[in-house]
Symmetry: C2
């Protein structure tokens, strides 16, 4: 299979286009079909609509299925409108069930029904089943094209049938052994098969214990299992143990990226809009709710300061340290949040235990607070010529950082336990809470010591 | 191979421990060696030191290599001290070169030399070469255990030699074809081999174009290639084209997680400390530089407010909106930062182009600013009974958000272009810059309009 680097891509594109323009079907097929699907998509996307129609005439719908599967959803939708009925039917029936299901999942109900209507009965049922599983579960990302064999068969027989079936399976590196009820009873790898005698029974060379995931398992959990055991694919079973699909390692890589992006979205309150390729209006619409909501929370913070207007009026210098208190509280809270969110995602948190982490963060917060307090108590007298002010700022910051670190760590854990949408534990929210706490502490300490401060 | 779930793990542990306590070597070997290495590590770690010594007597160093490879570095270091010389020698010589190299890379120079001294000449050279490559490159994460064949060989011959060699290779699903200079000339998959006639020449069934990466390619780039082409492994070549190793998909999954964690570290200024399993002191020591540095930047922000003390003294109410301006500027900047950092990591940014993204963010910033400004101009008069104050706050926020969004998007791009440590483009830094910008705008506007405001 050919894969292109930047150097060869241009030259190759020229050759393929030439073949197309010269109506040289054989040459075109030879060049185009040798390419990796990823590069086929890139090349195909560069063609004009007329050229694309020509491509459909030159390669079969089965061959084109590979190209179609590699396209972005918008491109798929736009293209399907232009395909003729027979070609589309053939195309859909030759797609992997996971790819077809994610395509259909993005269509309007009416269109989706139309597409499913074009499918063979068996394929249609597979697809309907996949579409029924909740988003982001094993069922939603699995493929139903896998190879299952029975334990009483011989190596030679299996090899023979593989020769015929292999084209349809998404991965043939694992062979799953099932019983009469289609429950998993074993697994063997292609290499186990290859290096056994032809008359050996499968049951003698298979491993009898197989890791599998339930169809409702969260996709993040599925990714963790594949990663933990360095698997190329993991089988998916129903509650009654029926083996119904596999999730492959390449799908899981996408899941890992998605989950990381979700984590970042959570920490920065950009969920759903960490995408460089959407318009200003769309980006603004997705982010605006956060920004507006947070701005209203800012009005609450304003109210906190308003409560202490009298203190502030007496010693206007106190206003100067508002940003410092706020920033420090926000920063330490965000750090703790990042540790917890990432720990939950990577599963390292479960290992160490939540309690231990909270104890750790408590200790960390106190130490950070102490360091900052000491630094301020040394510097502030030089800058603002007041030991009392230095004490107020330093002491407040010590308490604030100790509390803010804990808030950053505890809030996402509680949210997670309560199964509330974790987005409300996002960085900016925690920052705002910490701002309010920090300012309350600061102005309370200042008000208590107001008589010792140099008045305006 | 057995893999354990929570239910069976306890029972299994009991059985294995029983076999160990009864000095039943055969039973222990039967049970223990059937386990997946990941579970072997978990089980082994639960044993006492005496039991662990017993394990070393029961299983060969070659078998134990699988267990050792799965351990965390600290556990490996601690264990090696207790192993006897011959067992350790055998162990190291049976590890995969990538795993061994990462272990040795963590040792002190003197210890590292000792370990390398134990290795066979060929293995020692492989390891030294890997250790010479820069961290986070293809060379540093590759394994040198792969299968290479020559194009003039027949399928039957290759199968025969695979039967012997397969134990040593980390993955045998791809077979790489090399010429006399050990340069890559082709690739075929195990399934290609399996389904060809025995007397077929390799050159007739191999693909002649192979995607490979240079040994100095960044690991993130390697991960992107494997992901793009859904590969199980990618070959690594030197500048002169010599084929020297492969990077497998399971190593790349770790890379993706690492890179995501790095991104989050960058956004939250927690780099290196997003690890739930380190002590308070260590966590505090890693995070303190950020917190202290940012606190000093907070003193600059204090100075900005100090400059406007007179304005503030005239209208004390202005202090009330300091948090709102700061929070909003920080939030929108962080959102833009997250989009850019994630876009760079996923490669989506390259596709769309930096210019387009900046234009997008500029538009988004203006729209967000406008929305917030309008909301404030409506609400503030109700709360604080002043249209001028509402205008000052709303107008400042409009300008601030427009600018802050751009700052959040541009800074990481510039930093990346200049190849400076991207950590200085972290969220808190950008937030602090945006705070200063926001407060400068706010107080400048307020000072200009001071005469129209109700005085204290």
């Amino acid at each position: 299979m050919v894969k292109l680097d930047k150097h060869t891509a241009e030259e190759y594109t020229r050759l393929v286009t030439q073949a197309l323009d010269a109506n040289n079907k054989d040459k075109f097929r030879e060049l185009f079909l040798e390419l990796h699907p990823t590069d086929q998509v890139e090349l195909y996307s560069k063609f004009s609509e007329t050229q694309q129609v020509q491509v459909h005439n030159y390669i079969t719908a089965e061959e084109f299925a590979e190209v179609f599967q590699g396209m972005e959803i918008d491109q798929q939708k736009e293209l399907v409108k232009r395909l003729d009925h027979a070609y589309a039917t053939e195309l859909f029936n030759n797609m992997y069930s996971d790819d077809l299901a994610s395509f259909i999942g993005e269509l309007e109900d009416k269109e989706a029904k139309e597409v499913i209507g074009l499918l063979d009965k068996e394929e249609a049922e597979d697809i309907k089943e996949i579409l029924n599983y909740e988003d982001e579960t094993a069922g939603a990302i699995m493929t139903t094209e896998f190879i299952s064999i029975v334990s009483s068969d011989t190596v030679g027989n299996v090899m023979e049938s593989l020769r015929e079936k292999q084209r349809d399976a998404e991965t043939i590196y694992y062979l799953y052994v099932v019983n009469d009820l289609h429950q998993l009873v074993g697994v063997l790898s292609l290499r186990d098969l290859m290096f056994s005698k032809l008359d050996e029974k499968i049951e003698n060379i298979m491993s009898t214990r197989v890791v599998s995931v339930n169809v409702n398992t969260d996709q993040e959990e599925v990714a963790k299992m594949i990663k933990k055991y360095d698997l190329l694919a993991i089988p998916v079973v129903k509650d009654d143990g029926e083996f119904i699909g596999i999730v492959t390692v390449d799908d899981v890589m996408d899941v890992l990226e998605e989950e990381a992006t979700e984590d970042i979205g959570e920490i920065t309150a950009t969920r759903g809009s960490v995408d460089a390729n959407i318009t200003s209006v769309k980006a603004a619409r997705m982010r605006a709710p956060w920004i507006l909501l947070l701005m209203f929370l800012g009005l609450i913070t304003a109210n906190v300061i308003g409560q202490f207007e009298e203190t502030l009026e007496t010693v206007i210098l106190l206003a100067v340290f508002i940003p410092l208190i706020m920033d420090s509280a926000g920063n330490t809270g965000t750090q703790a949040l990042a540790v917890v969110v990432r720990g939950m995602a990577l599963g390292t948190l479960e290992k160490g235990g939540v309690k231990q982490l909270l104890k750790r963060e408590f200790g960390t917060g106190i130490m950070l607070g102490l360091m900052c307090a000491i630094a301020l108590m040394i510097i502030v007298p030089f800058l603002y010529d007041s030991y009392v002010l230095a004490f107020i700022v330093g002491f407040s910051l010590f308490i604030t950082l100790s509390v803010a670190t804990m808030v950053g760590a505890i809030v996402p854990i509680i949210i997670n336990k309560l199964k509330i949408d974790p987005a409300v534990a996002s960085g900016p929210f925690i920052t705002t809470i910490n701002d309010i706490i920090g300012l309350l502490i600061y102005f309370s300490v200042a008000t208590a010591l107001i008589n010792y401060l140099p008045q305006v």
